[in-house]
Symmetry: C2
């Protein structure tokens, strides 16, 4: 009962958000491949489908990854212009952690597969209900 006719039926809050902590594995992978600094990594993330990332999230995540020993950073003061950059590279722990993340992401992948298996089936099936 109680068909809650709240006027905000058009809520689309998380639908535009990436699952939170995915930033971590995508950053790790990006660092593994490009060994770049935060500002650039932030832009490279778009390759993976991230839209505009919040700089705060990216820098905070990177510092956290370094505190955890998964990446290490050096200052690059030879940049052509602009302030010095903190250039990141993966540590061995980071490589291992990335592997762990990869297998977790495989899990999410199969969850999505099963979701769309059911969703697609249902979409074709619907309206034939008794």
């Amino acid at each position: 009962m109680s068909t809650n006719n709240s006027s905000d039926s058009g809520r689309r809050p998380e639908a535009s958000t990436q699952p939170r902590n995915w930033l971590q594995p995508f950053l790790l992978l990006s660092i593994q491949q490009w060994q770049s600094h935060g500002y650039e990594l932030m832009q490279r993330l778009s390759v993976f489908g991230f839209e505009a990332m919040d700089p705060g999230s990216v820098y905070r995540t990177l510092r956290q990854l370094e505190r955890d020993g998964l990446v290490s950073s050096d200052w690059d003061t030879n940049s052509s212009h602009g302030p010095a950059r903190r250039v990141y590279s993966l540590t061995e722990s980071g490589e291992t952690y990335l592997q762990t993340w990869a297998s977790a992401l495989r899990g999410y992948q199969s969850m999505l597969d099963s979701f769309f298996k059911s969703y697609a089936t249902d979409a074709g099936d619907r309206r034939g209900e008794t």
Copy 2:
């Protein structure tokens, strides 16, 4: 089996966690298909690859979905044994919202695809290293 790499930084936090709010679309889809109650839905989630879900999260999410008008519930007092159950069904808003979620999940799917495209490439590359 979450081979807990114990070496130095023994953090293995999110690798075992599903992206948070995915509970929502998977619950919506489950309700659409089975029109069941929380306790059972909680068990059905394992079909999609969710491990043991926290009951608190499931019930809280369901009540929230109802507050938002995406599902509606009726009490089923005819259960063979045990207390009454709150049986959920999708509202039209819920159907729409599920569609929105589905397209978001498609996005995550393609993010995972691009992740593994890069990851696989890199893995093959690194193994070829002498």
